[in-house]
Symmetry: C2
Subunit: 140 residues, 2 copies
């Protein structure tokens, strides 16, 4: 199994609400998305999908624990100020602020918002992971 | 907020077991991983992290639902045969086979394994998403 991921699917309760939420953050669904069924976001080689949580659970062969299930996404940026701007924008769009932007023990700066379906996103500056032109972290 | 993800962190109960599991699939932790604390896998611009589920929940400002929480990862390949090989390898390494490889309603072929911590991975061929040289899906 090659060391890569092609798709991260987030289960949602109300697809149009979720598309509106990510749209408010600046994300645009790919034209191949199917209205009322599924939305795909091309994040530069990795696809983020939004799909019915019930259908995703069934398709994945798992029981739905009903809450958070041990997965957190992160979005790294270059400057602490960007962290705060993104967190503010997410809250304005309907997210819950789970952790305000602040310096981290590992020498960075980060905060967390939780999307309308309970999926947490850490917005972070990590000096150890400089971002390339495409915004991909370089672990060195 | 740019349309990209930099890190997907999977909460785990036993880090060494999880590193061994992904290692058996062919994944190699990055040297910046901290033994006994956290493991990072460079998947070509996206980082996959393995970290204590309890610490991840606290850091993410969420309550742990205790089970699956609405996120499924996918790994696309070119041929149906590769799907079956990867699923077999994952099961041999300790995964649960949640859905055997089979043709899908959307014209592809896929199956699902669930890792030792309950995180599902769909292994799929999607003719509508050809993979580039780096294995990144091209939505067209």
């Amino acid at each position: 199994m090659d060391q890569r991921i092609t798709l991260v699917t987030l289960g949602v309760r109300d697809l149009s609400r979720s598309i509106a939420f990510y749209g408010a953050l600046g994300w645009r669904a790919h034209p191949s998305s199917v209205e009322g069924e599924v939305a795909f976001f091309d994040t530069g080689g990795l696809v983020v999908g939004l799909w019915s949580r019930d259908q995703l659970a069934e398709d994945s062969g798992v029981d739905d624990g009903g809450g958070w299930g041990g997965v957190t996404l992160a979005h790294n940026v270059d400057e602490a100020e960007q962290v705060d701007v993104i967190l503010s924008g997410a809250v304005a769009a309907g997210a819950r602020l789970a952790r305000a932007g602040a310096p981290t023990p590992w020498g960075g700066y980060s905060g967390v918002f939780v999307d309308p379906d309970g999926h947490p996103w850490e917005i972070a500056v990590n000096p150890g992971w400089p971002l390339d032109e495409a915004g991909r972290p370089q672990l060195g």
